[in-house]
């Protein structure tokens, strides 16, 4: 089992690849099937944001070790247009293109730790972690 997996995100096919690798990694670590699905879903949403708004970026999956448990970390990076108003994006129901927007509040609900850094025209990095129960 690798410690770090990088998946370039340039197309909708890459979204599928990223979430399949995420699910596999979670399964290898012994996550429950339900939690593996949550992780795969979160990856799908984050990867989708990259494709929709930045056209290209990268998802990095890492095994993380806590004091008494293991987990998975998902980092979604892109050099896209960035999010102008992060607070707005993190509120439920935010939408620019008449769609569900970035789906970030949903992702926040299914992961344990969530961090986002974004700057207009500089890109966005989202870091999410989920621990094995």
């Amino acid at each position: 089992m690798e410690n770090e997996i990088q998946v370039p995100i340039n197309s909708d096919q890459d979204i599928v690849t990223a979430r399949q690798k995420g699910r596999l990694l979670a399964a290898e670590l012994g996550f429950s099937s339900g939690d593996a699905t949550l992780i795969a879903t979160a990856i799908s949403e984050l990867a989708r944001n990259i494709v929709t708004y930045a056209k290209s970026g990268r998802i990095t999956l890492t095994v993380i070790n806590g004091s008494a448990r293991q987990g998975v970390q998902v980092v979604a990076q892109d050099q896209g247009p960035g999010i102008g108003d992060i607070q707005q994006a993190l509120r439920d129901g935010f939408s620019t293109s008449g769609s569900l927007g970035l789906g970030l509040p949903g992702v926040m609900r299914i992961v344990d730790e969530f961090e986002i850094v974004s700057e207009k025209d500089r890109g966005t990095t989202v870091k999410a972690q989920k621990w094995k129960r």
Binding site: L38, S44, R109
Partner: protein, 120 residues
């Protein structure tokens, strides 16, 4: 990968596989609408038993498909959502509002039959 669409009497059954890309979904949307018109189907079942992740795009597109099919006078029902996928969906806030859902193919067909009988 193209989603296979089978005809069963008055109904169409589309069976989705696990590795479903956005392009596949959009293609399905076009194909289903074409088939509904061409075959004058009264109902469509979308079987997602093999789908391991339902994210916002899939949920939104399925809702759109349901709306379009409804405009053609047909019913749509989604069957086979896995327990874990359902759980992830509600946590993400994806409710598939106004789209009928049933446990499996058998239930889906029963639902469509009941619906089409009641409109006769």
């Amino acid at each position: 990968m193209e989603v296979p669409i089978l005809k069963q009497g008055d109904f169409l059954i589309a069976t989705i596989q696990a590795a479903l890309t956005d392009a596949d979904l959009l293609h399905l949307r076009t194909a289903l609408l074409q088939q509904v018109v061409r075959r004058r189907s009264r109902g469509v079942i979308v079987d997602v038993t093999s789908l391991d992740v339902m994210d916002s795009f899939a949920s939104r597109t399925l809702r759109e498909i349901a709306q379009m099919i409804h405009l053609r006078g047909a019913e749509m029902v989604i069957v086979g959502i896995q327990p874990e996928v359902a759980f992830a969906m509600v946590q993400l806030g994806l409710k598939l509002e106004h789209v009928a859902t049933a446990l499996d193919l058998e239930e889906g067909l029963a639902h469509l039959k009941q619906k089409s009988e009641s409109t006769l």
